[in-house]
Symmetry: C2
Subunit: 256 residues, 2 copies
Amino acid sequence: MQNIRTVTQNFDFHTHQFLNHISLDCVVFGFHDNQLKVLLIRMKYTKEWALPGGFVKEDESLEVAANRVLKDRTGLDNIFLKQFKVFSEPQRSDRNPAVKDLIDSGSNPDHEWFNQRFISIGFYALVDFSKAEPTPDFFSDLCAWKTLDEINTLILDHSQILNKALETLRLQLNYQPLGYNLLADKFTMPELQKLYETILGKELDRRNFQRKMLSYGILNKLQERKTGGAHKAPYLYEFNLENYQKALQNGLFGGW
Amino acid sequence: MQNIRTVTQNFDFHTHQFLNHISLDCVVFGFHDNQLKVLLIRMKYTKEWALPGGFVKEDESLEVAANRVLKDRTGLDNIFLKQFKVFSEPQRSDRNPAVKDLIDSGSNPDHEWFNQRFISIGFYALVDFSKAEPTPDFFSDLCAWKTLDEINTLILDHSQILNKALETLRLQLNYQPLGYNLLADKFTMPELQKLYETILGKELDRRNFQRKMLSYGILNKLQERKTGGAHKAPYLYEFNLENYQKALQNGLFGGW
DNA sequence: TCAAAAGTGTTTGGTTTACACCCATGA
DNA sequence: TCATGGGTGTAAACCAAACACTTTTGA
């Protein structure tokens, strides 16, 4: 197995002037094939899976840093993202012994950087699956979408971070424009419903869902239909963003 | 005006081993005289008002640190507290020039500590007003409850932090045991209603409020009444904590 | 004794739920 | 041609909003 120096040879954290002790991790959600997906990276040498993350430069806010990280991982600008929790257990960033050896081995000038204690700010991000181009970072050899049931162990406390993000998504469903940011510009009612069902983890009545959604006045029904499916062609809709934002101020009430 | 050395003479941040760049600020809410109150401290020399806050020791999680800070400010243990947002604008902890002079003056060994960039994790806390004993910290000469309309300018971005806490409180009203933590063990229905009205910033119908609250099954009606008021003596209630917690899992729905 | 606060109940109208029928499409 | 998914409609149950009357209390 290669020395970690190879891994970090072009990445001197001290000269890059990142703030000590502070990292951020992003739970990037996408929606494809009627399934919720999460963007993960695979570490180069240990082949462990992890959430994409990064550090904060001296002149960046957390939000700017997270946008930079996400731009690197997806190629997208202006991604919708929200802080949801800071993970700060003192032992949370302790690596397991094998990985620690890897980091400490040789005369890697950055091993102290990695072995310091980090608190990590968790962000969740919503992206249009079809527009993102998953790109690994310097420490990973792969960046890919995974459905929730494809995800097993993640490094450190990343599983916990992911779970908290999911819980947050569920709670914020009526307060954040999740549909707008996760779906393509034009989408069908069944697609929107599947998104809701996936996030909520339960099935909803097709007809009542449609009635309620339309009653909010946040959708524009298009004349166009989505063809190519194996059955009756459903209408396409787009969000009326102005009304959507306004409606979210008070929450889309009624409970699902 | 005294040298800042006097202020920090017993408080060497380097030997106390706090993490660099990380601070926390607490918005402590209490409810008294049918009004929502916030705990503030007054800085010793500048007499500016601020949110109580602190720093994180090397072996503490944020939550442990926040509990320590709150124990110091109120004398209470096991306070209900929640992170709500990290404030991380690069310039947010820049002091105004006059205060900066104060900190830099003399050969104060800690002035570098104060002049570094901090990101601050915002916590809101809910306490039983009657049990808290406001106590200033090393940098303040006064710690006191303030109603919202008594609060003018706060230092740094503390006004922004306070506003965000209030917004969070409003959004979490149906998901967190606000009543349980803000009211005394026994309380009247009108008191509970006033709490809701204060947080929501609008009036509610007395009769509908009572019916809905009782329908949740989270209150135990006591035989006791609260005497001493100028009018008909209202019944006292207490929370059925088990049912309350259970009900909050799904949110107390219906919207107010 | 009376104004103000508190306890209790009813009517009304809207919303949610549950369910049925018809249409379109590719296998 | 038929199984499947999609569009649209309706009756019943439920819940929330608006509102009235009575009781208790200290000033």
